[in-house]
Symmetry: D2
Subunit: 264 residues, 4 copies
Amino acid sequence: MKGWSLPFSPKGVASTLTPPPWHYSGDLLAIEFETTADTIASMLPCDLEATESTQCIAIFADWSSAADSDPRLIEDPRRGMYKEAFIVVPARYRGDTYGRVPYIWVDNEVAHARGHVQGFPKKLGEVFMSRPVAVGRGGPRREVGNTFVGTLSAMGRQLMRGRVDLSEETPISELPPMLLAPQIHTRYLPSLDPESAPLHQHSINVLTDVAAGTALSGPAELEFFDSEHEELSDIGITKVGKGYFVSVAMTVTGAKTLPAERIA
Amino acid sequence: MKGWSLPFSPKGVASTLTPPPWHYSGDLLAIEFETTADTIASMLPCDLEATESTQCIAIFADWSSAADSDPRLIEDPRRGMYKEAFIVVPARYRGDTYGRVPYIWVDNEVAHARGHVQGFPKKLGEVFMSRPVAVGRGGPRREVGNTFVGTLSAMGRQLMRGRVDLSEETPISELPPMLLAPQIHTRYLPSLDPESAPLHQHSINVLTDVAAGTALSGPAELEFFDSEHEELSDIGITKVGKGYFVSVAMTVTGAKTLPAERIA
Amino acid sequence: MKGWSLPFSPKGVASTLTPPPWHYSGDLLAIEFETTADTIASMLPCDLEATESTQCIAIFADWSSAADSDPRLIEDPRRGMYKEAFIVVPARYRGDTYGRVPYIWVDNEVAHARGHVQGFPKKLGEVFMSRPVAVGRGGPRREVGNTFVGTLSAMGRQLMRGRVDLSEETPISELPPMLLAPQIHTRYLPSLDPESAPLHQHSINVLTDVAAGTALSGPAELEFFDSEHEELSDIGITKVGKGYFVSVAMTVTGAKTLPAERIA
Amino acid sequence: MKGWSLPFSPKGVASTLTPPPWHYSGDLLAIEFETTADTIASMLPCDLEATESTQCIAIFADWSSAADSDPRLIEDPRRGMYKEAFIVVPARYRGDTYGRVPYIWVDNEVAHARGHVQGFPKKLGEVFMSRPVAVGRGGPRREVGNTFVGTLSAMGRQLMRGRVDLSEETPISELPPMLLAPQIHTRYLPSLDPESAPLHQHSINVLTDVAAGTALSGPAELEFFDSEHEELSDIGITKVGKGYFVSVAMTVTGAKTLPAERIA
């Protein structure tokens, strides 16, 4: 039997995942928002803590992905392309500040599995976002004066909607810190056996080739909606900041795992 | 009751469609292919006929659409954005040559309904195609030396797969004729009442603002696959020509309908 | 070319539909509700009118369907099986009372197409409803004392939710009139050609073999939810009546079409 | 933070899973098949081995599920109801014979997550299967003389199709052994950190309240189809046995985990 993830099989073809490096290129529609430090703390495990900054970000992302070890991600776009929506909040761990993703939804099985290996708490969702068009009037241009929208639904409920009116260019150096900050995730798999502990580790990805194109930005709107399956709308947004449309890229080559104590 | 299409409702909000003008902007992955004149004729109604040319084209399209009368197509990308896959064959009608779309699949309800109003024989399908990326290695660039792939499935069966290795620029004037040719469709709705004839009309769209960006092209592959729900794979491909990746746009403002005699 | 509906093709295999008779067997979770006569009138075309009764019904349905002319509906359950959700309001036309379906959502392409041929204003949606189980505790039994739930979403928004606590048997003769009343639909296809009128006809299905199994019934809940794509939640529910879980069947053999004047 | 699985959240509402007991009730369309002992061995980890019997089974299942700790599984059927398709092969581990599930596909996120906690190698798929109808001709009856069909697709490719013509009743005691045999799974999550071992355990569920209704059985057909994402069709079916339609139920209360050595 071969494979890098379940299911294992005689040739290793059936595995959902092949090993990194994993390459990502995508367009992000990102919207800054603030909530209270208490709210942020309520979404962190006990060994992470809120920071002075309460600057968070909500992101809709349209990704293409590849892996040196799996040509199918490119040769079958259904396997390698996907959209996701998530929020990032600032968190301090052992003295350093990281981005932390309490909630994330994705529309692709491979990306879902890759996320759980890294510790992203990915759930399935339906994400739509405006794509820049090159000619005509069917959609917005990647230019000042255009509007981009992102929406998220899961389990048949609308969860998040964002809108950005692009009004200026923003240098990469002025992008909001949570947009590309190193992230700390928690790998977790419960155990059904009372004599066996759950898998429980924090994990920080090892990234290379992080890049961003020219960002366009402007005034933004952001709404979270209620669902009996989620707690996203329990986050009280105290302020919506600017919004950004920007192309980014990165490569995941591995991760550093760290002991995690307990959830609560 | 108000509305431009079913369902009608007190405010007209529930209608799937609002009236044209309808604006379209999209990226096309288009692959030339040839089949026999007999095969083309077998997919045409009796009052259309095959031409000397047997140059056909298979297209995967990633569309954004808008309508002056429906801001929701832009404000909710789920409503206005979609992908489709289709083939176009040449057909002569009353002395003029048109593009004819015998089969087309789409992943969006509004586009499905808009298609049936125009006479496109749209069925639901799942279409995926490579998107050009701006930074990084997660997907192909819109540049010579990159590869783009499109796939189509419907009813859980793979139906079509195309691949283009971009090797050069092609001037708009040299794009294959079936890519942007005027098309003749057939509007058809059967009747359950033996005393009432089906709706049956040919229809030629009135288009404005047809535009295309710079086309990249190169060697291509194209395959049709079998399904008990389709006849796509009955088309014997005698030759696969070049492939193209190109951005296009158009506006549909209306149509000219013409009498249709009978199907067979 | 052959076929009974689009797309036409050399063998007729590609057509979404084959001709009736069409056979339907399904489980309905149906909930009585009332609204005002004005609200009902606002959802009717000008040549239909509200009745003295304002007894409406909301239905979640889990259907299996077959056609003498299309064995694929049985041999490929993906083609023939589907779920839908809809409401029925009473309407008077030329002195007779009919059921009228102002809004209906379905999760299957064949059923969507069959609906539009009949005049049902079907849109795509996601419908879920409890299934009776035969053993164990994973779901409800088809017995007094059990609870059944139905939900509807479309375009990523929740639209309707119903719940019935089964408390007694109800004879077929006491089922609510809108559950199995003859229905009057409106076939409509807009025209893009200003010189060509839309297809616009009323249509009453010719049904045979209408049957119902033993109905279970009890107290019910019903909610409509808001969506910018719908007007369902504009219906003010003034009273929720009883709910029913019942198996029904029918065969559609044809229809009688009638002239329709205008929408408003 | 609370929760039993990712994502953790302030109230624990966002978690995909809540703890067992988990209750399952479902209808199975199950088809016996044989392959070679070598083929079976090729799908087993190194510490499991093939048995003398090469009697395997392919199963399409239509499940309703519940959990004492999560009323949403019943109150929102979209959360608790699902379909899956899988195969079970016999495997010996430490002297005992178990069922082993090398491949399984499911259409529901909660069931997908529950599977991975138990060690089922679940992937997302689209499963359809005939439902017994109570009245009319829209589908088959749960009676001798009727035909049931199941289909599986994933990633837009058809993977499996089964068909059973019910010809007799089969006592529970004569059901094929792999249908309800205790199963041994492998919990596995790769690690991105070279200094951290993957999670890797075998796991045997603790089941209570296993039950089955009356089984109907008869001659069957079974086909596996090719996909570049799977190895299902590499299993050479040497014989197709009988098929069964049967309602089953069980409760999962926990599991016993066992050390797993290595994959190959």
